[in-house]
């Protein structure tokens, strides 16, 4: 067998191997958009309706049996609170908080309720190495606190900064966040406590797909009132909770720079290659090695062969 033919063979197999590795990667990227479970529930939040009464916060506290708040839920001084220069965020003791914003040129303040947005493809879930998180077919992103090891990867991964850490509990480190009232309500098809408690029906509960239609409809019926965007329709691949507003979203503290596809897509291609590398490469390169050393002698074998040859 000539050297040239072997080189040709090697080149050919490399090209083939590369093709094999690239094709599933592309496929994984293309199939990245998971549109959510077809019957997944969602909540449409209409910021134009919120008056900042904090009833949703009180309802959440009661439903989730959270500890007593530092201030009464009808104390509106919390809207002026700044923590390290930031407005309030959900904590392990309050899974939802309302903040006040003053958009430019608007006479009325704008209130925004924050809680987990229950992404179609949650980054907290994909970042969790003990698989504590689950996206349920009902649409909730829930977690199993029994397996949580308290690594806080999800806190860093979440594009909305939602998961909070229970620093109080040294022996049982655990992440806490809104679970869409999954255990007590959503499982039975009932809306979460905050939605039901709201006097202004800021939040509308329903199937995500239908709510999206409703949101588009509200905007098209009142084009002068709403900005033409549904925040969460496309952001990070779509979220279960999404928002419509009369002021540009960035003025209510929304991050407008988030990608329009799931964050996992950044690494999906790479992750798809990993198993290929682990399974195909060893076999492939062992093959190359055997081929390239066939009929040749190296190392120990070499000496032995030389001896044999010399003997002959």
């Amino acid at each position: 067998m000539s050297k040239i033919s072997r080189r040709k063979f090697l080149a050919g197999s490399m090209a083939g191997g590369a093709a094999v590795m690239m094709s599933p990667a592309k496929k994984a990227l293309a199939s990245g958009a998971f549109a959510g479970f077809p019957d997944g529930m969602g909540v449409l939040v209409d910021l134009t309706r919120c008056v900042g009464c904090r009833t949703c916060e009180a309802a959440c506290n009661q439903e989730q049996k959270l500890p007593e708040p530092a201030l009464p839920f009808d104390d509106y001084s919390v809207f002026d609170e700044l923590h390290y220069g930031q407005k309030r965020r959900p904590t392990d003791k309050a899974y939802t908080v309302v903040n006040r914003y003053e958009p430019e040129g608007s006479e009325q303040p704008l209130y925004r309720k924050i809680q987990c947005n229950h992404c179609n493809e949650p980054t907290c879930l994909t970042s969790c190495f003990v698989n504590a998180y689950t996206k349920t077919p009902e649409g909730a992103v829930i977690y199993n606190s029994k397996v949580c090891v308290g690594c806080r990867n999800c806190m860093i991964a979440c594009p909305f900064h939602i998961p909070a850490y229970s620093y109080d509990s040294v022996m049982n480190p655990v992440i806490k966040k809104c679970i869409f009232c999954y255990d007590t309500r959503l499982k039975e098809g009932r809306p979460p406590a905050c939605v039901e408690s709201c006097p202004q029906q800021v939040m509308t509960f329903g199937k995500r797909n239908q709510l999206l239609k409703l949101a588009h409809e509200r905007i098209s019926k009142n084009p002068d009132k709403y900005v033409d965007q549904i925040y969460g329709e496309k952001e990070v691949g779509g979220t279960g909770w999404f928002y419509i507003s009369n002021a540009p979203f960035e003025e209510a503290g929304f991050d407008q720079d988030l990608p329009k596809e799931p964050i996992i897509n950044n690494v999906k291609g790479f992750l798809a290659i990993v198993p290929m590398v682990l399974t195909i490469w060893p076999a492939l390169f062992t093959g190359f090695h055997l081929l390239s050393t066939k009929g040749k002698s190296h190392g120990h074998g070499d000496e032995h062969n030389h001896d044999t040859q010399e003997d002959q």
Partner: protein, 173 residues
């Protein structure tokens, strides 16, 4: 479940408006005062000064949609209802359900009724109607401007006699 629903629906003792059953204001045959307490729980009911609001508003249709014989103010209602056609239904709760919105009663557009969908529930119908106007005219918009908290309400909001002992500042992150 009924208790919980009631509890939540509550807070709102209900804002104004219209329990004015079948009383047309066009005929000046309307109650001067209406007590709206059908949802009262966390808050007391609202004693609504109907007579004052009749004088203060541009007409019955400002609150009662198109149903009472005065000119229609909503441009979408006006597409079909010309303002002279009176309707039998005057009270909010005959159309707006007190039940919380569920996937089953989420209305999606039906042919011919495009503007009848997306109907708020009763609690929201009251509050949106009141606060919507009050925000525009700088009227009262605070919860207790219209109705006082009940004991259940104070417990729910951790306020009044159920307020936290030490209002220590909760640290964030």
């Amino acid at each position: 479940m009924v208790t919980t629903v009631k509890e939540f629906t509550a807070g709102m003792g209900a804002v104004l408006l219209i329990l004015v059953l079948a009383v047309g204001c066009y005929a000046m045959d309307y109650p001067d005062e209406v007590e709206i307490d059908v949802l009262a729980n966390l808050y007391e009911g609202v004693v609504f000064d109907h007579a004052m609001h009749v004088d203060a508003t541009g007409g019955c249709a400002d609150c009662h949609h198109h149903t009472t014989g005065t000119q229609v103010s909503d441009k979408y209602c006006a597409k079909c209802h010309d303002g002279t056609q009176e309707m039998d239904i005057v009270s909010c709760q005959e159309c707006h359900s007190a039940e919380p919105l569920s996937p089953d009663n989420l209305h999606i557009p039906r042919p011919g009724y495009y503007y009848h969908d997306d109907k708020p529930n009763l609690k929201a119908a009251y509050h949106l109607s009141c606060t919507g106007c009050h925000q525009e005219i700088d009227g009262p918009t605070g919860c207790e401007d219209c109705h006082a908290k009940t004991e259940a309400g104070e417990r729910f909001y951790h306020s009044g006699e159920f307020a936290p002992d030490e209002p220590a500042h909760e640290s964030g992150h």
